[in-house]
């Protein structure tokens, strides 16, 4: 019996030896390749995002013919399963074993924060292409992590401002998913809304996921508000919007959405009365600018479907990385690569040009979009473009970051309870009406 235990440990140790031999087999023998790793949820409920991120990356790499400055580009994809721990483990694998020069990707907030935490110690350059917690490029920002997508509050601040100033709404009833991304979206909305003269944003949170909204819909007061804003996405949004319509609530209040409520991938599941829903994002799938049309056509030709934001954001992440590498003497010089990434200026990006601010988050167009029905199909159409929106909105970064992080109960629902310094700032937004999708 004692011997069998010893044998077992020896077996364990030998297994380790075998294990050690594996990477030698798998590792690319070339040392002069430029290596990019994508971490995305390619399995599980968010697999659609992972797929779009993969497709966007591959399209960009193919346009560069997997070559940068005469060197081959090697691309690795790892599945995060939307789990922070697995994402960190995969990032470690990409760094320690595949020796990637840069990592692109994470999708959800928690995964992004987890990868940020790992990147802080490892120093590996990371481009956050779809993870939106604002602190990744604010209070927790680190030199080697840049973002080319957005923060939760970024599209919502100008949207809130526009809803109060242009639509003239003063009182909003908001129902949202109970986690940090919607908190940040609500925070941005409330700040913009209150600055433009709004009065109240009553916020109600529901657990994720929720299938039946009848109790929430029944609780909405039938008078005293100007609109309902649904602050959720995915299957929750489909269920909410359809039940809102079926309850006849459209006759009571118009429906607004958060940035992802009317995602193009979810619109086919919504009733056609969802047409008229308004939301704001840095992306709109029916943009008619030459850059966007070229991107969309290439994507449709390659993958047979229209690209959504996740695809564009990962596509542009790869392009900005390869363009950054083109400016470098030696892409193995990590500091130079990080500096080049932080200096990104991408005027011809499909979504509209962007550059990174000093905290490495993009400054770009926000589109206020309306759902319309064309040939029986629901699609988002840009109605107003707000150029050069930063993650801080009109605020001074120091003032913004001195505020608490957006949470369930912050900022306050009543605009009267806002800190005065958050209401009294010089406005910077320019609302440009869009015609023919541009």
């Amino acid at each position: 019996m004692r011997r069998s235990i010893a044998l077992r440990f020896l077996a364990l140790a030998l297994a380790g030896l075998v294990l050690g031999g594996l990477p030698a087999l798998a590792q690319s023998s070339e040392s002069e390749t430029f290596r990019i790793g994508l971490i995305a949820p390619t399995t599980g409920p968010f697999a659609a995002f992972g797929q779009m991120q993969t497709e966007g990356s591959v399209l960009a790499l193919e346009q560069f013919e997997y070559t940068v400055k005469g060197h081959r580009v090697v691309f690795f994809i790892e599945d995060t399963r939307l789990n922070g721990e697995i994402a960190v483990d995969k990032s470690r694998k990409l760094d320690e074993e595949d020796r990637v020069h840069v990592i692109v990707g994470p999708t959800s907030g928690g995964v992004g924060l987890s990868v940020l935490d790992w990147a802080r110690d490892s120093g590996v350059p990371v481009v956050m292409s779809y993870s939106a917690p604002e602190d990744i490029t604010m209070r927790l920002a680190v030199e080697n992590v840049v973002r080319n997508s957005w923060t939760g509050a970024q599209p919502m601040d100008p949207f809130g401002y526009w809803v109060a100033s242009e639509l003239g709404y003063k009182r909003i009833y908001m129902i949202g998913e109970d986690y940090s991304y919607p908190y940040n979206q609500a925070g941005g909305f409330k700040r913009g809304f209150c600055r433009a003269g709004g009065e109240v944003v009553t916020t109600i949170w529901h657990p994720v996921p929720t299938e039946d909204y009848s109790s929430f819909l029944a609780r909405i007061p039938r008078t005293g508000y100007d609109a309902v804003l649904y602050n959720g996405a995915g299957s929750d949004a489909v269920a909410f919007v359809n039940q809102y319509i079926e309850f006849g609530m459209l006759d009571v209040y118009p429906l607004l959405g958060q940035s992802n409520t009317f995602e193009q991938g979810d619109l086919p599941a919504m009733l056609h009365e969802a047409a008229g829903g308004i939301s704001a994002m840095q992306y709109v799938e029916t943009l008619q600018t030459p850059e966007f049309v070229a991107f969309r056509d290439a994507y449709v030709e390659r993958w047979g479907r229209t690209p959504a934001a996740a695809a564009e954001h990962t596509y542009t992440a790869i392009v900005m990385i390869l363009r950054a590498v083109e400016t470098l003497e030696d892409f193995n010089d990590r500091d130079a690569l990080i500096a080049a990434l932080r200096a990104t200026d991408y005027p011809d990006a499909p979504r509209g040009g962007f550059y990174l601010d000093e905290y490495a988050n993009p400054v770009h167009n926000i589109y206020i979009r309306e759902v319309r029905e064309v040939d029986g199909k629901l699609m988002n159409f840009g109605i107003v473009r707000v150029p050069e929106v930063s993650q801080f909105g009109p605020y001074d970064p120091a003032l913004y970051m001195a505020q608490p992080v957006d949470a369930r109960n912050y900022p306050p629902d009543a605009c009267a309870d806002f800190p005065p310094e958050m209401l009294d700032v010089e406005e910077v937004y320019e609302f440009i009406p869009m015609a023919d999708g541009r």
Binding site: A6, R92, E96, S180
Partner: protein
């Protein structure tokens, strides 16, 4: 077993232990970094899986709350060290003590149930911990989880270095392994197996079945809690996903894969499961499918897990050899040992 064979046998054992010890201790010096990372993960998940394997195999208690305890320890450590900024070792000690208190409460609630009822009750308790992690956002940060926990730096030695971390973990892992093994072989282990096989008869014999089971539950909580603290200090993060049903079932599958109640087999189960993640993902996204098929084949052809299958082969081989030499067996057929 004769006296003649015992001396070389002892020497052989010593030699094997020495070789295994040297190989295990020397991992950090030659294993590629990512594989050291994987070995570290194998060790802390093995501690968690051993906790369930011990309860299920020895006590017949298929507890689905062990991942909850693992997660509780991790959350407690993260919250105490990051939100309350307590210096080492207080977060660690309080986290471990707190987990034992939770285990005591859960044990008191659940030990009076058996079989499926015990499984469902512990599943519910574990999911309560998950729901708290998910929804008590002011403390646990909800869905996003808590990032930034680090292993301590003590007397100039950084345990954030994978090698140092690994050595400490290895020692703790071996301590847990031999602790559980010792319990299995102790009178308590025997009594525990008695409650597993017939709790009615055990109480008729005058044993306090509840006390035996509660003691086992508390003992099993120790490796789970320790594993949780190593987990959070190594990965730096803890999110509700770690406590969720998928992880719980994953651990249960590993235990079945390795052979329920077999501690060494459990380590092999974890090894195989993580290797699936590491190696199979190189070739396909469908590693969950691959894992599922493997599991299915295993249940069909080796219902006692991998170690059960190996033992079965060994037994068959022994029998054939005995049959060939036509020598009557000197001892009875080898019974299934406890470990």
């Amino acid at each position: 077993m004769t006296a003649r064979s015992s001396l070389p046998r002892t020497l052989l054992t010593v030699a094997l232990v020495a070789v295994a010890g040297v190989v295990l201790l020397s991992f950090p010096s030659w294993l590629p970094p990512y594989y050291l990372t994987t070995v570290i993960r194998i060790l802390f998940y093995s501690m968690l899986a051993m906790s369930l394997s011990f309860l299920a195999g020895q006590g017949g208690m298929v507890s689905l709350t062990q991942t909850g305890l693992f997660g509780f320890a991790a959350y407690a450590l993260a919250i105490l060290s990051l939100h309350y900024k307590l210096p080492f070792p207080y977060p660690l000690l309080i986290a471990l003590a707190g987990t034992l208190v939770v285990a005591l409460a859960f044990g008191l609630i659940s030990i009076r149930t058996y079989g499926t009822y015990f499984l469902i009750l512990t599943l519910a308790l574990g999911q309560i911990l998950w729901a708290i992690a998910q929804q008590w956002t002011s403390v646990t940060e909800g869905f996003d989880g808590i990032q930034g926990t680090r292993a301590p730096i003590l007397g100039g030695i950084s345990f954030q270095e994978p090698a140092n971390f690994y050595w400490v973990l290895l020692v703790v892992f071996l301590a847990c392994f031999f602790l559980l093994r010792a319990v299995v072989r102790s009178p308590l282990g025997l009594a525990l197996r008695g409650t597993r096989d017939s709790h009615v008869r055990m109480s008729a014999l005058g044993f306090s079945v509840a006390r035996i089971r509660l003691t086992a539950f508390m003992i099993a909580a120790v490796p789970a809690a320790l594993a949780g603290t190593f987990f959070v200090q190594f990965t730096g993060i803890i999110t509700p996903v770690t406590l969720d049903l998928e992880r719980t079932v994953w651990i249960l599958l590993i235990v079945i894969l390795g052979g329920v109640g077999n501690l060494g087999g459990t380590v092999i189960g974890v090894f195989i499961a993580l290797m699936f993640e590491v190696v199979v993902t190189r070739f396909t996204d469908r590693y969950l499918t691959a894992m599922g098929i493997t599991f299915l084949l295993l249940v069909l052809f080796a219902p006692n897990g991998i170690t059960g299958a190996i033992e079965g082969l060994k037994r068959r081989f022994d029998r054939r050899r005995r049959g060939a030499s036509e020598v009557a067996p000197t001892a009875g057929p080898p019974g299934r040992g406890p470990s």
